[in-house]
């Protein structure tokens, strides 16, 4: 299953990748952004019989911005009292930069069978590991 999905990823042309990138970015940000989730509920509550169109570019952009805002707000909530006005501005800029990286990351199509490269390797000489001084 994993091989198959890796093969699928390999088959992607650059154009496929770019097309998938746009779609994945829209869905990924919408799904993850707490602000976006709240927005969806509000729309649904206001008119539950209304047909909601699939998310378009505007929805994706606003979900993305909501995600940026939520992150910046959380940093400022937790650490704002330590930061100068200049540093707070810088935090907002850095959160925006981070979002660009995450957009890239989320744009690549991944499947259920794409195993992460995190492996638990059982260390046979565990006793020695545990005896090692803690750093």
């Amino acid at each position: 299953m994993r091989e198959e999905s890796v093969k699928d990823a390999k088959k992607l042309t650059r154009r496929d990748f770019a097309r998938a990138a746009a779609a994945a970015a829209a869905t990924a940000t919408a799904a993850l952004a707490p602000g976006a989730e709240a927005l969806t509920r509000k729309v649904a509550g206001a008119n539950s019989t209304r047909v909601v169109n699939p998310p378009g570019p505007d929805d994706a952009a606003s979900a993305r911005q909501a995600e940026i805002d939520a992150r910046a707000a959380d940093v400022l909530r937790r650490y704002g009292d330590r930061l100068s006005a200049e540093e707070k501005t810088e935090v907002r800029r850095l959160v925006g930069e981070l979002q660009k990286t995450l957009d890239k990351l989320r744009s690549y199509p991944l499947g259920n069978g794409d195993q992460p490269a995190t492996v638990l390797r059982v260390v046979p000489d565990l006793t020695e590991v545990l005896r090692a001084p803690r750093r």
Binding site: V6, L32, E90, L94, L98, Y108, T118
Partner: protein
């Protein structure tokens, strides 16, 4: 017949200090060179030049002389341990050395000491190498981000080829030390670029081993799944000699490769016909001087029988994946520093706040990055099935100005560095020329995971037919 004692104790001049580890070792073994005299000479030069280059965090004079006398006595008694016996070196200041400060280059850890040695220090002790100092470094190896070369407890490391330029980081002192012959070799570490970049900028040979080949026990952790330790020296051949000592399984490092995979035996390279993939998409834009020099290096290899074909790195957001993994693992590694607010003591304005932002990355994004890593491993392995090594300019630019804003002036996509570190494959940068501003240029050779010997073989072949690695900076 052995030379007289007086000759052995003669103070080695600059020509000797610039010799390779192999040549120094040969002279020491033949008792033509005294480890004590050599150590004293490197110490004197380091004491004289350190203020000029900000290369050392600490000089370990007492320890060095103690080790040098022990080496001299042993060798005199006929017990020669191997090619590093009696050779003075510097270790990046993130490696624990019992009884000496290990500052991680950062003010919050300025008084930190450990009561044990890092595994690599232990191995070098056993090999009879002589530690003459802890090399300066970028604070926390850049783990909290940095914008300026001055992001270090010891100030900006200056490039021996041009003091107005930086050495690059984070093994910034290690680069300057080897380049200015303040030690015969140095130990650096790389999470992303920290061996390759200082080696290219400083005109030395620096090797990043396969992930897991060299134990990180006793080394500061920045990114648990990316950190690597490697040699920085005068030649690829020296890097091979040093790697053979550093490599090996260590149960105290959970990422250590199993015994037979971690071990590395090195002998003088035999000529071989290499198939080289010349990466055409490693950099978007390359300085014309660097393009010319690296193409020239490839032509040298072709003349020696290497087959060179154009190759392309796979497409995908793999450098973004590497960036996310470093950010998340760095935020975890330095959580106490971030949460306590002591991160504000870092010298770089970016370093003081980046950790707060990096904590915000969601677990889902981290796992996505790890999934991409799995795909990248597969794709790189397929690419490397076709070649012995991949080659490219180590960097598309030469050393940056000492006061440059690195976010603006040294900020470009680095898919090769991202993928190389994401996948843990070995790479080496060796000098291959100079820019019109007389700054060193490096060419990089990368190989498949565990094929460290092939990367070294390509660099060795090149250095056997070029002399850029023997050039010395104009130090007054």
């Amino acid at each position: 017949m052995l030379p007289a004692v007086e000759k052995k104790r003669a103070v080695p001049g600059e020509d000797v200090l610039y010799l390779s580890v192999r040549e120094l070792g040969k002279r020491i073994r033949m008792r033509q060179l005294s480890p004590v005299a050599l150590t004293e000479s490197y110490l004197a030069r380091s004491e004289r030049l350190n203020a000029q280059f900000n290369a050392y965090a600490t000089l370990t004079r007492d320890l060095a002389l103690e080790q040098a006398h022990a080496a001299e006595k042993e060798i005199g008694a006929g017990h020669y341990r191997g090619p590093l016996h009696g050779i003075p070196y510097a270790a990046k200041d993130l490696l624990a050395v019992k009884g000496y400060p290990t500052t991680w280059g950062a003010k919050p850890f300025a008084d930190q000491t450990f009561d044990y040695d890092a595994t690599v220090i232990e191995k070098l002790n056993k090999a009879g190498a002589i530690l003459i100092g802890k090399a300066a470094m970028i604070e926390l190896a850049g783990g909290m981000g940095y914008r300026f070369a001055s992001a270090s407890l010891t100030g900006p490391a200056k490039n021996p080829w041009n003091e107005g330029c930086w050495t690059c980081g984070s093994s910034s002192g290690s680069g300057a030390i080897v380049s200015a012959a303040m030690a015969a070799f140095a130990i650096g570490t790389e999470t992303w670029g920290s061996i390759i970049c200082p080696s290219a900028f400083c005109g030395i040979s620096g090797f990043r081993p396969t992930f897991g080949r060299v134990s990180r026990f006793g080394a500061m952790a920045l990114a648990y799944s990316l950190d690597k330790i490697g040699p920085m020296a005068r030649s690829a051949d020296d890097c091979g000699l040093i790697l053979a000592v550093l490599a090996g399984h260590d149960a105290k490092d959970r990422s250590s490769l199993p015994g037979d995979e971690a071990a590395f035996e090195y002998s003088a390279p035999a000529p071989q016909k290499l198939k080289i993939g010349w990466l055409t998409n490693a950099w978007k834009k390359i300085d014309p001087d660097i393009d010319t020099a690296t193409q020239g290096a490839i032509a040298v290899l072709e003349k020696q029988g290497a087959v060179v074909e154009d190759a392309e790195l796979p497409e995908g957001p793999f450098d973004a994946a590497a960036g996310v993994i470093i950010s998340v693992e760095g935020a975890a590694a330095f959580r106490d520093l971030i949460e306590s607010g002591k991160v504000a003591e870092l010298s770089d304005p970016l370093g003081r706040i980046s950790g707060y932002v990096n904590e915000q990355i969601a677990a889902g994004d981290y796992m996505r990055a790890q999934q991409l890593r799995g795909i990248c491993l597969q794709k790189m392995d397929e690419l490397l099935e076709n070649y012995d090594v991949l080659a490219a300019p180590a960097l598309p630019v030469a050393a940056s100005a000492l006061d440059a804003n690195l976010e603006k002036d040294l900020n470009f996509p680095d898919p090769l560095g991202g993928m190389g570190n994401l996948c843990g494959f070995p790479a080496i940068s060796v000098p291959c020329g100079f820019t019109s501003a007389k700054l060193p240029i490096g060419i990089l050779f990368a190989a498949r995971v565990r094929d460290d010997a092939k990367a070294l073989a390509a660099a060795n072949l090149y250095q056997a037919h070029s002399d850029w690695h023997t050039k010395r900076p104009p130090i007054s």
